[in-house]
Symmetry: C2
Subunit: 261 residues, 2 copies
DNA sequence: CGTTTGGTTCCATTATTTGAAACTTAGTCT
DNA sequence: AGACTAAGTTTCAAATAATGGAACCAAACG
């Protein structure tokens, strides 16, 4: 979680610093960052200055702490609007949400993890920013497995290498072998289950969003709890989830979607 | 429209390139970017490669077009949660929204522009990502002027230098001089009006959010239309807006600086 | 096919980054 | 107060990475 060994020249290093601040998840002092980083004092200092100048970081002058800058929020808006499935999928999610009255997730793959890009909440109005942008593990979520199942061999291998296989619950597939077996079943079935693999009591069914060429560009899930319903009952939505995924795929293809990895 | 006099070394230049892609608002080809940029072919090419490697940009291999990468969405979530006022302000906005039954905006300053970080819609609640993250001009919006009015002299000068002073409506303050006079009034009054300066028919009253030390950290507005109400009628909310701004400021200060002298 | 257009790579030159060390505060201890 | 310490800032010659003109490649065009 801490140090990327990455090195795309100066820019790469600067972004590593950004990541470090992002990773902290709270305002951090220069000295804290210095302790965690491989950079010498002066170098880190200069990066911090540059990033602050650029609005990527914010320096609280009273406290001398750094946080992520709001400029990122601005870019994210553009990124979300321009290169996520969310804008395209929105109307379809609305329909599915109304039909199922359950929580809907729309996700994409990002660096081997699941990135949620949109959500419809069963009950109350949504808190989009609080939800979209969140990341989760791929190997133990419905959307994650749905996407993994349709990855090319080499992309799958790369993704598997990035999984932690932490055993969140007793149902978590905690080895690559078990996971691969599960993925095979998912591919045969056409959609994935989450059997309380990530959080106890949380179940879902999820379908991949595929281009005509068969490339995964995202996934879609209907989520519920074991208190409200059962997996079997949830499965009646399978057809509609798959349909919706297909509709989104078709729409997205009209816009010729970039490749996500 | 991008004045790249930026002097933050290589990182700054790379971010300018990112901005260029973001600014396009659609997938762009290498050659388009080349035409718009001052960089020579090879240089621009290398930046694009680096940014793509870093996940800040995405390259559609079929079309040869670049879009913003989803990694930004991920960072933005962290930025929003960690260094925007939005999470802190949320409950207060909810109350104000219920009380006024008008549209509420929460904004912060970003590079001389207004960045909206949260919103409550008069009618229906939705679309956070689609709304938050949007930017607008500072010199002709309520929140913008409220923030400008409390900037330090040098920050104000820097901000003014970045304004376009485009005359959106007949009420727009279209020169620095007029704007400065208006800002003085706002400071005296404690809150700002928007008298259809940005969009015809749209009016608002806005208050700055200030730390105890007097630093501007954001602004808050209640917006309506000339069809629904008048500026005079809207002004009855002034006290509550200022109160709410104070509450958010207090909360933000407590939350971000737990320990105090 | 010869030509144009759009994209990628080379590599000697040049400018930027680097980081040890010196310096400046601001804060603590005696 | 004065001496020490920790945290942050600046300097500057050496090391390194960025630069960009030009060559190259590959489609698409005529």
């Amino acid at each position: 979680m801490s140090a990327e060994g990455n090195s795309d020249g100066t820019v790469g290093k600067a972004l590593d610093v950004l990541d470090m601040v992002a990773g902290a998840g709270r305002p951090v002092r220069f000295s804290e960052l210095l302790a965690d980083s491989a950079f010498p004092k002066a170098t880190l200092y200069r990066f911090l200055q540059t990033l602050t100048n650029q609005g990527m970081l914010m320096l609280d002058p009273d406290r001398g702490t750094y946080t992520l800058g709001v400029r990122l929020v601005r870019w994210a808006h553009a990124a979300w609007a321009q290169s996520s499935l969310a804008p395209v999928a929105r109307p379809y999610l609305d329909v599915l949400s109304a039909e199922t009255a359950e929580t809907i997730h729309l996700a994409q793959m990002d660096q081997g993890q699941v990135l949620y890009v949109d959500k419809r909440n069963a009950a109350r109005p949504i808190e989009m920013f609080a939800q979209a942008g969140k990341v989760g593990p791929a190997y133990c979520t419905g959307v994650g497995k749905a996407m993994l199942a349709y990855l090319s061999d080499e992309d799958l291998q790369a993704a598997i290498d990035r999984q932690s296989f932490h055993r969140f619950t007793e149902h978590t597939y905690d080895t690559p072998t078990k996971l691969r077996a599960e993925l095979r079943l998912i591919r045969d079935r056409g959609y994935a289950f989450d059997r309380e693999e990530h959080e106890p009591g949380i179940i879902c069914i999820a379908a991949p969003i595929l281009t005509r060429a068969g490339r995964v560009i995202g996934a879609l899930s209907v989520t519920s709890t074991t208190q409200r319903t059962t997996l079997a009952a949830l499965e009646i939505h399978a057809t509609r989830v798959i349909e919706t995924a297909a509709q989104i795929a078709a729409e997205a293809e009209a816009w010729r979607f970039p490749q996500h990895t």
